[in-house]
């Protein structure tokens, strides 16, 4: 059945397509070539969230996508509008987050002419999108949008960009939305090969020291329930990557915490001593593996991933299984029997007892350790969605928050984008208004997109920004302390901003917390206020993230960083 066609202009067609894709919210910023689209948005049944910088539109769309699993949508004008999206697109690409990005473009007749606000955004974003399109005829627009949503949300998810020349948005044509996508070059594999799955099952059965290493793919494929059942069935401990956090309950006895550079000692020891590593939706990133040659060198490796190109990219794999994590884990559950891991689990429990994550309270008594704040947020609101910026605070959030559910930890993993937190938190809170959303930020990161407080206030999105204010670009300072003799080159930003006044200037609630006793009450007050809030936590300046594996070292070569008094 084909639906009846109707005459309309490109801009109207865009809205019709968004309806058909079930889009209820888009994040954007208008501009000259988008006037027809914004005119249609004026009375469309879609919430348009006006950001204050296009970069934030991309991050917010990503936050929305990560909190829900739906495809995030953002929109920016040609030229600088489009180039401002680039960081956000690259971020979504690195973390495989489904996103459809619309950019305005100069009229087709001016393309390639160095016209006002022209940028070759399809060229610029080719390496950071899963696919992109330049629309050359409005008649193609519905098909392109259909394909874009399909490509973004299937297989290994990722951002897809559609560049819309201005003339396309006013071109009148017979609208028809296809109900099927036909792409002969794109057929992602969901079902893993059964022979391989059986081979994996037999490896598991014979294994004494198995470890499951789960990544963001578990979140993308909503496989956390299957992961839990699988781990319990085969009796194997589970470690997750940064983006896999939330994919396995932190309080479960089989959980090892995060692995890698700032992973727990016991997760890293377990990897190094394992005889069978089961990687699920993870890509052996350098922050995870450290020195590749020494990574899990005694282990056979089973690698489950939906992207065949990830298999054997960094590490030679013994049993590759290309497929959707959820589907493959379901099958593995069927075919696997428990590993012979009782002694191994005992050994790991000893490692856990002997090498816990820890920090020392400051000698001064009432100073604030950043780890303590994370613990207090976790205790006050364990179901909160935690969104972070990038740096020390991000690692502390990953280490100390007691995550129990998928899609409650939203962080910039692969790209490591400072300034991600607040806009992504806005997107997450809009997607999940029922949840308390904390943006955990550093005083450095926060300033990279602090203008988005205006968005939060205007759109009435009560996110809570918790700034871990140590007066430094903390992670870089930590490296300078450890590897450059404490020469703090360009990392001190002490006393540069009054964050409470800044919050108030935007019409948000601003709170300053300087003593330990005030931490919990401030968190409670922020939650109760139901307003966009900034809490300026003045924390100990030179606390380090520990444990730490220096870049390029094997992951069991762990530096002993004393928590400072």
């Amino acid at each position: 059945m084909t639906e009846p066609t109707e005459k309309m202009i490109g801009a109207r067609a865009l809205i019709e397509c968004l309806y058909r894709e079930g889009v209820d919210t888009i994040f954007g910023y208008p501009g000259g070539v988008l006037l027809s689209i914004y005119d249609e948005l004026y009375d469309a049944d879609i919430r348009h969230v006006l950001v204050r910088h296009e970069q934030a539109a991309a991050h917010a769309a990503e936050g929305y996508a990560r909190a829900t699993g739906k495809t995030g949508v953002c929109l920016a004008t040609s030229g600088p509008g489009a180039t401002n999206l680039v960081t956000g697109i690259a971020n979504a690409y690195m973390d495989s987050i489904p996103m459809v990005v619309f950019t305005g473009q100069v009229p087709s007749s001016l393309l390639g002419n160095d016209a006002f606000q022209e940028a070759n955004i399809t060229g610029i974003t080719m390496p950071i999108t899963k696919h992109n399109y330049l629309v050359q005829d409005a008649n193609d627009l519905p098909r392109i949008i259909k394909e874009a949503f399909h490509i973004a949300s299937t297989g290994r998810q990722g951002p897809v960009l559609i560049d819309l020349p201005k003339d396309i948005t006013v071109q009148e044509f017979d609208f028809y939305y296809p109900d099927k996508v036909e792409l002969r070059g794109y057929k992602p594999t969901y079902k893993g090969n059964l022979l391989q799955i059986k081979k994996a099952a037999s490896k598991i059965e014979g294994s004494k020291n198995p470890v499951i290493y789960a990544g963001g793919g578990v979140i993308s494929s909503d496989a956390s329930k299957e992961l839990l059942e699988f781990a319990e069935k085969i009796n194997a401990p589970v470690t997750t990557t940064l983006t896999g956090m939330g994919g396995f309950p932190v309080e479960h006895p089989l959980f090892l915490g995060m692995l890698g550079m700032h992973g727990t000692k016991y997760a890293n020891y377990a990897i190094q001593e394992s005889d069978l590593l089961i990687a699920v939706g993870a890509r052996f990133d350098d922050r995870v593996t450290g020195k590749l040659k020494a990574f899990a060198s005694n282990a056979k490796i089973i690698h489950i991933d939906i992207d065949p190109a990830e298999i054997s990219k960094n590490v030679k794999v013994d049993v590759p299984i290309v497929g959707d994590a959820k589907w493959v884990l379901q099958k593995l559950l069927e075919y696997s029997s428990p590993a012979q891991s009782e002694a191994w689990i005992n050994r790991i429990d000893h490692w856990k007892k002997d090498n816990p994550l820890y920090y020392v309270e400051p000698a001064t008594g009432n100073g604030i350790k950043p780890q303590y704040i994370v613990e207090q947020i976790s205790a006050a609101c364990k179901d909160a969605i935690i969104v972070t910026d990038v740096g020390q605070h991000q690692m502390w959030a990953a280490q100390y928050f007691r995550f129990s559910k998928a899609r409650t930890f939203i962080t910039s993993g692969g790209l490591g984008t400072m300034g991600y937190g607040l806009p992504a938190a806005i997107g997450a809170k809009i997607a999940r208004p029922d949840k308390v959303v904390f943006a955990i930020a550093g005083d450095g990161s926060f300033q990279m997109n602090s203008q988005e407080l205006a968005t939060a206030v205007q759109e009435n999105v009560p996110v809570i920004v918790s700034i871990f204010n140590n007066g430094y670009l903390g992670m870089v300072r930590q490296w300078q302390e450890l590897f450059h003799g404490k020469r703090y080159s360009s990392t001190c930003i002490q006393d540069s901003v009054d964050f409470v006044k800044l919050a108030e200037a935007y019409g948000a609630l601003g709170l300053r917390v300087t003593t330990r006793d005030e931490v919990r009450p401030a968190i409670e007050q922020a939650i109760a206020s139901e307003r966009p809030t900034v809490i300026d936590f003045v924390v100990e300046c030179e606390e380090n993230v520990s444990p730490m594996v220096p870049a390029g070292a094997a992951i069991n070569e762990i530096m002993n960083l004393e928590s400072k008094e």
Partner: protein, 161 residues
């Protein structure tokens, strides 16, 4: 080790740049690349010659397959495929050398496609070795210009069906 890849792609704008961009971005080297349409006008065929060991080739193939506009990637093993390249070679020539050049061309089943007072142009088709051989033989006369198409290749027909 050199590999010849036949890559079937959508015949759309920007596809060449997606493919070339993937190679440069990931640090793989292209020895030669040719593109042309196929019997199906919506499809183009690229013949790409790449240097790399098996691990590199596995990644190249997978990364190519990841591109939405790439329909199929075939690694053409030398023993199972036929390959040709065409070269146009403009050689310095005068009355004294003309016939000698024509003789060489003859041996290589090459054609003389243009003759001027001070040069002549030879068209030769064959595998890479043959073209390199005629190039070596013509060099002493002085090669003024040369254009090579890069390799095109097809898999051989099945011997027993």
């Amino acid at each position: 080790m050199r590999h010849t890849l036949a890559v079937l792609v959508e015949n759309k704008y920007g596809v060449l740049s997606r493919v070339a961009g993937m190679f440069s971005r990931r640090g793989y080297n292209i020895d030669s690349l040719t593109v042309g349409v196929t019997d199906d006008p919506t499809m183009s065929r690229m013949t790409i010659v790449v240097k790399g060991n098996d691990d590199v080739m596995e990644q190249v193939t997978k990364q190519l397959n990841k591109l939405i506009d790439v329909i199929r990637v075939i690694d053409l093993r030398a023993e199972d495929s036929v390959e040709r390249e065409l070269a146009l070679i403009k050689v310095k020539s005068d009355v004294n050398t003309r016939s000698e050049i024509m003789q060489i061309a003859d041996v290589f089943r090459a054609h003389i496609i243009d003759v001027g007072s001070k040069s002549m142009t030879v068209e030769v088709t064959g595998d890479e070795g043959k073209i390199t051989a005629i190039e070596q033989l013509l060099k002493p006369f002085g090669i003024k210009e040369m254009a090579r198409t890069g390799k095109v290749a097809l898999s051989r027909g099945k011997k027993n069906s």
